[in-house]
Symmetry: C2
Subunit: 364 residues, 2 copies
């Protein structure tokens, strides 16, 4: 099979219109399609075919006009730059000693069909001998599962006797947090926070003892009821930030309580919604807040993957229900739809679980 | 000498006017003078004479109309309740086995002349054989010194090779933080944050390597310069909160950096000034935020006092310059002035160091 000679890519527009409050539902203003010749690969480069693209809230920050861009932990994406994404790719051509043609990798890629990336972007190789669906690597054994695993085991050090509250519990990471806490760690009590009855039902179906609807008029009262005689939680796993976080400070155990801060989806479309108004509670309750991003733990990924896969094989961790797959592999102009699909993370159209965009099946 | 039979006290007014934004400079509306008969002491009670009253930002929270009063770590003070304070007192009469007449104690007392308090309020006894001025016990060997000591040694675990930034560095606690870090721990670099050239000069005179003026138009640039090749600090000791805290997140070392959260003076008169807008930096920089209040460490106070007194005796820690004493012991109606003096914490009238109100000399 001959290699492709051109890439079709999705770039950020110029002049940039991606203000903090911009939405993604106008791909014609926020993004544009560009074509690029694929030249000869440099040392350490790969030509890869995108199979699945992960849709993650964190991408929002990469292209935001942020006055504190230098504080970001990844390179920001400027005007005319190609949009980045986590994804699952197949290696078509390689100038790397470690990455072979036909290998499938999870890691960082670009929005496009066939793209050139540094081999360093792709650190997690799919072991084809393990009978798992490919989507799992961009879902529960990808960033989502690893965030849940390392956030609970390493950052929070959640124990059997602990009470856990997790926000965004119907979301990709939150649902894995619930299941790992329940089925692998066996925590004393797990309380999810989610929006609406349907999501709460889902959260309970995968193992949460209680679920509190953040849209409730009396969130605080509902949380009190859910905590019951425990009154406080040992660990609050926060992927949301903003108002829920502010309210949760009052429910985290004094002195020993841990807040795992690993996401801020409340602020992605309006950063003022992320303002923390109850900072004083961190002081008066002597809380421990631990900022956390999963990339610090990728070197230890295999032990997490084995544990999660073990839980799935034992029938304890359920993963099928937690996927929202958008299949563009049969579409004639799939790339134009990437921004609209991505925006489903924010506009309420996303179903429970991980939002994944399929672009192609592997060749090999 | 016969015991007093009446207390003159300062109570919070009714209806309460102490809204979040209320100032303290109108004692006639925020506080009122009340007289009470001193009845027979109950078991565990003491009659004490107030010698020195400590003026602390934290008292502000005790009387604030706070929607989250239940989240406070001490009993709030309601309408008609007597105002509480840390202070130095002499025991005039005792129904406690541990507290003897003539003993001098540091601890919690009430705004008043002679007041009845539970012996439990007073946990730190003055050792009269140690040649220290009494004021030291309400200053650098009281809450101030202990906050600095335990905040640095236990919470932050500051080491010789570490870079420290401390806000409110010209204030009572901040000045002790600078000196303990410099002269007892010997940290690699200490940067104070203070308002104006005069305070910054003071901060450098007591041992800070650099001082950044938070009123500067380019605080961030100045902090960068002060950090120099270190670029980031290992520990940020924050007693201020709000905007300075928000900016400092960007300068705390990724993954290992610690923010000691022990005060929030920026928000005492306007809680919106305490809002944290850069919560996301805690995540992206993987910071460790540790809420802290000194009362958790009072059981270990003696080792801290010995270390601080040792530093003073060795001529390393200077304490004389850090006292702002308001002497009311010769005034005819001293209690009426307590709110006005207290308000100097907030209206800019306080000089560098600890703000202390003297009411009387000890009898014994």
């Amino acid at each position: 099979m001959s290699l492709p000679t051109k890439s079709t890519l999705v770039a950020v527009n110029e002049p940039p219109t991606y203000e903090i409050n911009a939405t993604f539902d106008q791909p014609e203003s926020t993004f544009k399609i560009v074509e690029k010749e694929i030249g000869e690969l440099q040392d350490g480069q790969l030509l890869v075919k995108n199979l699945y693209l992960s849709n993650d809230p964190t991408q929002r920050g990469w292209i935001t006009k942020n006055p504190n861009r230098e504080a970001m932990y990844v390179e920001p994406i400027g005007a005319n730059d190609i949009m980045r994404s986590y994804g699952l790719v197949e290696v078509l051509d390689s100038k790397s000693e470690t990455h072979k043609v036909g290998d499938i990798y999870m890691g960082t890629t670009y929005w496009g069909d066939n793209v050139v990336v540094p081999a360093l972007f792709l650190s997690l190789k799919v072991d084809k001998s393990v009978p798992l669906p490919l989507t799992a690597y961009v879902d529960w054994v990808g960033g989502t599962g690893l965030t849940a695993y390392f956030g609970l085991y390493d950052v929070a050090q959640l124990k059997k006797e602990d009470v856990l509250v997790v926000s965004g519990a119907a979301g990709a990471t939150g649902a894995m947090v619930v299941q790992i806490a329940k089925h692998l760690i066996g925590a004393k009590k797990i309380i999810g926070i989610a929006g609406g009855q349907e999501k709460c039902d889902f959260v309970k179906s995968i193992g949460a003892d209680e679920c509190v609807d953040y849209r409730s008029k009396d969130f605080s009262g509902d949380m009190k009821k859910a905590l019951g005689e425990d009154q406080e939680c040992d660990v609050y796993f926060d992927g949301v930030g903003g108002e829920i976080l502010d309210q949760m400070f009052s429910f985290v155990k004094r002195r020993t309580g841990v807040v795992v801060a690993c996401g801020a989806i409340a602020g992605y479309n309006d950063s003022s919604k992320l303002w923390v108004k109850n900072w004083g509670h961190i002081i008066t309750r002597r809380l421990n807040v631990k900022g956390f991003i999963v990339t610090d733990y990728l070197g230890e990924a295999q032990k997490a993957i084995q544990a999660i896969v073990g839980g799935v094989k034992a029938g304890k961790i359920k993963v099928d229900n937690t996927l929202h797959l958008e299949d563009l592999s049969k579409e004639s102009e799939p790339l134009k739809q990437l921004p609209t699909i991505y925006n489903k993370l924010f506009n309420g159209e996303k179903k429970a679980g991980k939002l994944l965009t399929k672009l192609a099946d592997p060749i090999n």
